[in-house]
């Protein structure tokens, strides 16, 4: 099973740059994940101002809005994609993260087999 761990740093856009100490601690944590053979991929994200949002109306019309947003505290700051043998194991790994004043959301990645056959058949690959 694969799990995506989303880090919600709970910080404002202007405090986005982490301290060297925090980066070092996170590096050790990532190393632990890697050595355990669990880590598939990870990334830290730039603040929302470096990206934007595309919103779709009920008719499917797309509108682009720029960041930054007032609610920067609620945005994703980075993610890990890990392999774990159970939800509990993924949650245990997440709880070992050297984090302060933030949250990590753990979600299981959907596999093809999770979908009904007709949905699987309709899929044309990435």
């Amino acid at each position: 099973m694969r799990f995506m761990m989303f880090m919600y740093p709970g910080i404002e856009e202007e405090e986005w740059e982490p301290s060297p100490d925090a980066v070092a601690a996170m590096g050790r944590y990532n190393e632990e994940l890697r050595k355990a053979g669990m880590l598939l991929s990870l990334d830290g994200l730039r603040p929302p101002g470096d990206g934007g949002t595309v919103r779709f109306s009920a008719e499917g019309e797309a509108t682009i809005t720029d960041g930054p947003f007032a609610e920067a505290k609620e945005v994703v700051g980075g993610y890990w994609l890990i392999q774990a043998r159970s939800k509990e194991e993924a949650l245990e790994w997440a709880s070992r993260c050297p984090a302060r004043g933030c949250s990590i959301e753990v979600r299981r990645v959907a596999e093809m087999e999770d979908f009904p056959q007709e949905v699987q058949d309709a899929y044309e690959g990435p």
Binding site: R34, K35, A36, G37, S86, E89, W93, D121, G125
Partner: protein, 417 residues
């Protein structure tokens, strides 16, 4: 199962290998180390539901196991007067008091883990025993889970484990990472175990017991751990490269009815791009080392040729043929020769492939192997030698174990007449 038990189980899965490895280093016996670790798990099961999981569960488990070790040794020293055991236990006790787990540096933990891998995969053990012991001590699987994964009885697995631990004890196999020439000699046994675990999972079909399908993931995990612990060994990277690329094809290898789809017919859009990238990167690491690629590295390089081709027609068969040729040099087998002949036919035409197949036509190891006549039939058909081709298809159908495959081969024979 309560939420607390599941949380403890998750901690166990994460910590047990390191715990057993650290204890085995102290007491010099993986069987005893496992018992001690189990004692600590039982203590955790009693305590944690009330207190919650401690801040550093690994250290808690190790401290508890150490205390149990000391208790046991005191008891054994009082009641059992076996001279040899007393001597060993005293030595272990001395080691216990000197060693401070919390202060142990990362390298030592890594070394202990690697020693545990090599001990579980010791060549004096049978293949089945090595696989069971590895899944038990490194994967944290229960005996019941191993039994389910390998479709054998639980008592069979339990017996295998007991015998394996006893054999290691009686042979006084030292708990250590082999060095130099001995490392080269024993690494293949480790690689083979991981490869076997992967293949067992790969053979499981969709919808089957999750434990079986999970074997692939566990093998991938063990392979990655090994590559981290033995970064200078090209075969460690070669094996994980091969497994990542093979695993990338898992979503594409079966049709809606569960029928196997051959590599060249697979919908490549379903191959997992993340695993391909990981596999190619691991292969790059193997190739960057001064030691040449071994059998796993070469197989990974072949798998990489397929992975790099966006469409089957774009496959670099000339390179694949050359890689098979290299593989026949270091790890010759009739199956490799057969695959080489097929690659040569794809690269240089059916005539060249057929010539190579002639050489292995009477190979006893392939006498019952339906893919040999079916490969010959395919090449004869391409050369327009219809009658010979049909005869070979019939021969192949007679050897194929699988009904669906027989149908396919007979269908091709019919189409020729």
């Amino acid at each position: 199962m309560t939420e607390a038990t599941r949380a403890i189980e998750a901690v166990w899965r994460i910590e047990s290998a390191r715990l057993i490895a650290g204890l085995a280093r102290m007491v010099g016996d993986v069987g005893l180390a496992e018992d001690l670790a189990q004692d600590a798990l039982v203590a955790a099961m009693e305590k944690w539901p009330q207190t919650g999981v401690p801040e550093n569960p690994g250290a808690w488990l190790m401290a508890t196991a150490k205390n149990r070790a000391i208790d046991r040794m005191r008891r054994e020293q009082t009641y059992e007067r076996k001279r040899e055991e007393v001597a060993r236990d005293t030595g272990a006790l001395f080691a216990l008091e000197r060693s401070e787990f919390e202060a142990a540096v990362d390298d030592e933990i890594g070394d202990d883990l690697l020693a545990l891998i090599f001990t579980c995969c010791h060549p004096l053990l049978s293949r089945e025993a090595r696989v069971a012991l590895t899944l038990r001590l490194l994967g944290g699987l229960t005996t019941a889970e191993i039994a389910r994964a390998f479709l054998v009885g639980e008592s069979t697995v339990a017996q295998r484990l007991v015998r394996a631990k006893k054999a290691l004890r009686e042979a006084k196999v030292p708990f250590e990472v082999p060095r130099g020439a001995e490392l080269d000699e024993r690494l293949p046994s480790v690689l083979e175990v991981i490869y076997l675990v992967f293949n067992e999972g790969y053979a499981a079909s969709a919808g089957e017991d999750w434990v079986r399908a999970d074997l692939c993931e566990e093998a991938l995990r063990l392979g990655r751990v090994l590559a981290e612990l033995a970064p200078r060994e090209p075969e460690a990277h070669g094996l994980i490269a091969l497994l990542e690329i093979q695993a990338s094809r898992l979503p594409a290898r079966r049709g809606p009815g569960g029928e196997p789809i051959l590599l060249l017919d697979q919908d490549r859009g379903r191959w997992d791009p993340l695993l391909i990238v990981r596999g190619l990167r691991a292969l790059g690491r193997a190739e960057a080392l001064p030691k040449p690629l071994g059998p796993y590295g070469l197989q990974a390089a072949i798998a990489a040729c397929h992975a790099r081709a966006i469409r089957a027609e774009e496959t670099d068969w000339v390179k694949i043929a050359a890689l098979y040729e290299a593989l026949t040099q270091i790890s010759p087998s009739p199956i490799v020769e057969l695959n080489r002949a097929v690659a040569v036919s794809m690269a240089f035409g059916p005539e060249a492939g057929l010539e190579l197949l002639e050489e292995i036509k009477d190979e006893p190891a392939l006498a019952k192997y339906h893919l040999l006549p079916s490969a010959r039939a395919d090449l004869l058909e391409k050369l327009g030698r219809k009658q010979e081709a049909a005869a070979e298809y019939h021969r192949a159908a007679g050897l194929a174990a699988n009904h669906r495959e027989q149908e396919l081969l007979l269908g091709r024979a019919r189409a020729l007449t």
